[in-house]
Symmetry: C2
Subunit: 425 residues, 2 copies
């Protein structure tokens, strides 16, 4: 369906056919949901052995009674597990509670209000504080900035990661900038892996940026591959060490989409200086993380290959859903300009760009036909997608059949909205 | 041993005898610890059945798959469990993560920086913000104020709770005051239960205090009785409702000293207005608490009487330690003015006041003789006990024999320090 070269008679015929198909779909009274970036029950079941895995043995391999208070850094063995996510030494990692969002919020609040490097380094000592946000991105990252009153400045994402020319130019010119959000692997929502060159250039930012500049490197999908030979993400910490900028990056990850969402272990990895700054505040905030649950995770992933094998089981469940989405997109839009997307090899999302000005309309049409989509704009700061074109598709929770059905509807909605727009142009 | 009426010859003889006994003790090379307000291994074992209690059944009674994301308020059944601690309706309770300290810090940070009743209500809109701290009290409460830059104003504790004349006068006169810390039952460290009159007067404070005044009512030892017929604490929430001040009190509790310290469930209970204010910020900070662990606790305490019976087992372990401390204090100081203390019927601490100016010296003497005591001053804001007399005794972790031994040393140290002071006066 190539709208650009079609005459108005052809367009009207398509419009009529699609309107009729859309009405038929509506009549079915569907109730499908592509909004939720969370694991399905089938995936959660993979970790059901977690409860009871301790067999009343509550002492960690290094001799800690995990039932009692203490240990701001988390269990040594849990920090080693974090190493497998963040690819940096366990001594640079704090194993925390159940939520990397909480760790990110706490760390940003500490940097903003108390300073990671003494109280003079607190961002709020400056009247203007802003953060670079690659778009489209993750709404909860934007929420943290918004909550803390930090202004967000967007840069576009492309197939290699953030537009680094734009980032470097901002960092050089705008002295209010104190950091940047990154989801470097299977980026939420576009699914791209930052290229080696992008990683290297991000590691260099610390050389010219404000001394309190911090990249928040949320490696949420570090091990969430769907293919057998996944592309690797370059090691940001090693790149920083090489550039002498290791204080400029804070890494985050969690087991939320590995074991139980909301009942896992979150990690922050950082330089010794940054960890010191974090812990100075963290000591006022908590007596320590849930070490019993950390020990459960340590035992669950005790074998060297167990984490990889576990993630392969997740991939086996998720992959058919991703394939279904991508196949339908390719079939409907592969030969025309009605939409564009990446083909992620991991993560939780597929990001679709409509023609400008159509995302809200597509979400509305799909919603009225019984297919819930993430609200258009959610992938941009303040919920404002200036082009109104980005839609995040989250296919993990529904069954493959439901994804198939939902994508049938999605395709019709995109086509119909595009034709309506073309005809009213 | 009555120093006041003794002549100098008698004092010198006692000094010589005690110095000799102190040297004998030192020679033993003891290594005892009365610092830690945490459960013993024997207590922790009472909850070993927690891990594995779910038997792969991860659905809550009300039908929630606890393994997945969601639910800022916590599980309905966990909130009902919180009701048994806070004595207020489950709908007024959020069941949170593993740390009531974290909930208290978050709530105070929200009140201070974001406001519990819209942004205009944020305490930091005023240049001066201060908090009433009954002393002696809990060092981590003071830490929260210190971290957030909130000035602390002390009022003395007596056998009925905080000196309410002093509190009421401060609230009436000092417009910088935004709240007050309270540990109303088995207060940390004095062990007193606030009298009905004190509870009623605290509930009245909201009538005259600043509209954003909030009592932080940390009911950490709500169910931690050591006697069969414990005195009851009057219900602060009902008193507030009666006074029309229900927005003026925020209640906290946790299972930390009930099941596993650091791996339990924490609760905050508050009016609908306050909960709304808390959740507005909490939604930026977390996707929700660990519901799997909440369900474990719900199942562990499924029977109506199970919480009470469980706490009786704790009491059976702790009580002999408390009796040992109190017996020795009574024997050594019951007939003289070398020290004063309350006789708590629950909680985790016994608080001992030396003659003025001796607490640091007693802690030093005991430390050098192999008995570690909580640093003198820790029970006061900024670590500063102006009278230098308060020492917190925490007898739960050592065995009864160790408590006996440690208290032998403690008594000698208090006697020796007192005589040395008297002779050099």
């Amino acid at each position: 369906m190539n709208l650009t070269n079609a005459d108005s008679g052809q367009l009207q015929q398509w419009q009529s056919e699609l309107t009729s198909r859309y009405q038929d779909i509506k009549a079915k009274g569907l109730n499908l949901d592509l909004t939720r970036g969370k694991p399905s029950s089938e995936q959660l079941q993979l970790s059901d052995a977690l409860d009871g895995i301790l067999g009343s043995e509550y002492t960690s391999p290094s001799g800690v009674d995990v039932r009692n208070y203490g240990g701001l850094d988390g269990l040594l063995e849990a920090r080693k597990l974090g190493s497998q996510f963040l690819d940096m030494p366990a001594e640079n990692i704090i194993a925390g509670g159940n939520s990397s969002l909480t760790l990110m919020h706490q760390t940003m609040a500490i940097a903003h209000q108390f300073g990671l490097n003494g109280s003079d380094s607190a961002w709020n000592k400056s009247a203007d504080v802003s953060f670079i946000c690659p778009v489209p991105g993750y709404d909860r990252h934007y929420g943290v900035c918004q909550h803390l009153g930090i202004k967000m400045i967007t840069v576009p994402m492309d197939a290699n990661g953030p537009d680094m020319d734009a980032v470097e130019s901002l960092v050089a010119q705008d002295k209010s900038i104190r950091g940047m959000w990154c989801v470097p692997k299977y980026s939420n929502p576009t699914g791209v892996i930052y290229s080696d060159d992008v990683v290297k250039r991000i590691a260099q930012l610390g050389k010219t940026a404000h001394p309190d500049f911090r990249v928040f490197w949320d490696n949420a999908y570090a091990i969430h591959d769907l293919v057998e030979q996944p592309k690797t993400l370059a090691n940001i910490y090693e790149a920083c060490v090489a550039a002498g900028t290791e204080d400029s990056v804070l890494q985050f990850a969690s087991t939320s989409k590995v074991t139980f969402a909301g009942s896992g272990v979150a990690f922050v990895g950082a330089s010794a200086n940054n960890l010191k700054g974090i812990k100075q505040s963290l000591g006022f905030i908590t007596i320590g993380p849930d070490k019993v649950n950390q020990l459960r995770h340590v035992k669950f992933f005790a074998e060297p290959e167990s984490l990889t094998k576990h993630m392969q089981k997740h991939a086996g469940i998720i992959k058919p859903r991703f394939e279904c989405v991508l196949k339908q997109l390719d079939k409907a839009f592969g030969d025309n300009d009605l939409g564009s997307w990446e083909s992620p090899e991991g993560g939780y999302f597929i990001s679709f760009d409509t023609r400008p000005g159509l995302a809200k309309e597509v979400v509305r049409l799909a919603g009225e036909a019984g297919v819930k989509l993430t609200p258009a704009g959610a992938t941009f700061p303040y919920g404002n997608d200036p082009e109104d074109c980005n839609i995040r598709i989250a296919p993990t929770v529904p069954t493959v059949e439901q994804v198939e059905q939902a994508m049938d509807v999605f395709v019709v909605c995109v086509q119909l909205a595009s034709i309506n727009q073309q005809l009213s142009a």
